[in-house]
Subunit: 331 residues, 2 copies
């Protein structure tokens, strides 16, 4: 068994090798091994392939043991092109930095420590000390988390430690120690009582434009909307209107309506200039982007390779491959 | 029983009345009722006095039932001047905003979201998005909390929810779910392994200058010191040298070496200009200064008045008064 690291995965060979059994051979393959058959000869039936993308334009891929995607999303993978024997697993771990980002921004929304720090000078500090402006607290505030998967739960766990009262809105999530879970039919009621509302659900046809004028109007006038999911879950025009007219307290926006593409490398992130509003805190889709993320993800991959080698069940299995030797017709 | 609110406590009559039994009479007394006998005639043996300060320059105070200090510190109270029948209680609650402040600053030290936000423009965001700088995480970092009272525990509870590994340094604290507690004799070892070190102990002869060059040198080169206790627990010159020469990663400083006094209303907060260093984040002793603090404190006081009226044990008792009717000689 060898581990074939394709394209950008090859840049993380050292991250993988930190915890991988040193006897396992790793091989770097260029990025075009993901989308052309140029390197298919290099793939053996016993190999593990680590790649964010894998497709053959409709043609089948050669058989191999495990495709390990080094991210959560499977949109780069043509599952139908994989041999039935190929097992597929993915990794998460981004719920940790995203939850840290959300709590960091929610805390700073209360405290405004950056402003205190910027205003701190030896000539003026005593006057500011005597007339300190009282700031806010997360403690006791209500938090709605819409979408209660890994990211929602990571946010709720931390928010609960601050004494926030957390309600999660999700039709499928099980109960959780840190939040009351209610169905999406109750979204409007929950929003009406939410000091802070975090969108943490995937973008689907059900969630596209889910946060609209009606929902924003239901929220308390000092409520803060946080979007670390996909921009389109929130109606752009309605959010702009709500922020412009201070119908909600503000928005913390890390995700955008337009991203750079080959055809349009420098688009404005939204049709309205949210970044010019004092009550919108805008960042460039950075919440998950940490030094530790890749390291932690490749440690999961190394562990899964170890599990595969020793015949133990894998973590984060997306698809089990038909065991070699079993009849394909049984699958 | 009436409640006499003295000086600045009188400004919080509304905070107290939010939860106080409406039948209880409240009376505002001017600030000089704390330090002169001018208003002693107004104090009845059955009354509750709420005041941050109470002294008679050595002379005894008239008897009353309960002195409720609306803060944690008792340095404004002459306990010896109180009648033996007077019970004394205080309030805390500042551990909540202080812990929020500490976590807010530690998170922002990792993420630098304010910089991302300041740099976010429609013309440059796409380039920044393509070349996002990876930030740090609290997850997995080690945190040392020196002094494991209410504030230290509130910090540890929240830090543990972020997956920090917390060690508390305290000779008297009991064990705790969220931290390993070790004696002060192990401070140097703990500091040597601490990514982040928070000073949360009171200033005593033992803790004055506790964080000195030797301890700072023992810390990892990217460690961050947080002081939300009293400045003098950290040697000023040694901290300046360590920060100037990047022997530690940085410092988050909310407490200072000099405060305004009547004689010197505008002192520089320190002899060295910490606020000019990029690795020192300076704020004007604001960590506890929240809108909710007084409200929460006066809710505790209202609850204690209720408990007193109904003969139940008080919370946060500093000193039990000799019960009316019992012989004073038994105390």
């Amino acid at each position: 068994m060898r581990v074939l690291l394709v394209g950008e995965a090859a840049e993380h060979e050292a991250d993988l090798r930190r915890t991988l059994d040193p006897s396992v051979e790793t091989v770097a393959l260029p990025a075009d091994a993901a989308t052309t058959d140029t390197h298919d000869d290099a793939i053996d039936v016993d190999d593990v392939v680590v790649s964010l993308r894998l497709r053959r334009n409709g043609a089948p891929l050669p058989p191999f043991r495990l495709l390990h995607v080094p991210g959560a999303g499977l949109d780069g993978i043509d599952l139908d092109a994989l041999d039935p024997r190929t097992c597929v697993a993915n990794v998460f771990e981004h719920e940790i930095p995203i939850a840290e980002f959300v709590l960091a921004r929610l805390l700073e929304w209360e405290i405004r420590a950056a402003d205190m720090q910027a205003a701190f000078t030896p000539g003026t500090w005593a006057e500011r000390y005597r007339h300190r402006v009282e700031h806010g607290e997360l403690h006791g505030r209500s938090l709605a988390v819409v979408g209660y998967g890994r990211i929602g739960r990571a946010i709720a766990t931390r928010a609960a430690a601050f004494g926030m009262r957390v309600t999660a809105v999700d039709d499928r999530a099980a109960g959780h120690d840190f939040a009351q879970v209610v169905p999406t039919s109750r979204l409007r009621d929950v929003a009406a009582g939410a000091d802070r509302l975090v969108v943490a659900c995937p973008l689907t046809e059900q969630t596209r434009g889910m946060v609209d004028a009606s929902l924003l109007d239901a929220m308390p006038s000092d409520a803060v909307l946080v979007n670390i999911s996909r921009a389109e879950t929130v109606d752009e025009q309605d959010l702009w209107d709500a922020l412009r007219h201070n119908r909600i307290g503000g928005a913390i926006l890390d995700v955008w309506y337009r991203y750079p593409t080959a055809a349009d490398p420098d688009p404005a992130p939204a049709a309205h200039p949210f970044w010019e509003l004092p009550n919108a805190w805008c960042t460039p889709h950075s919440s998950a982007w940490t030094r530790s993320l890749a390291r932690r993800r490749y440690a999961v991959i190394a562990d899964n390779i170890e599990r595969l080698a020793s015949g133990r069940p894998l973590r984060n299995t997306v698809r089990n491959g038909v065991t070699t030797g079993s009849k394909r017709s049984t699958q």
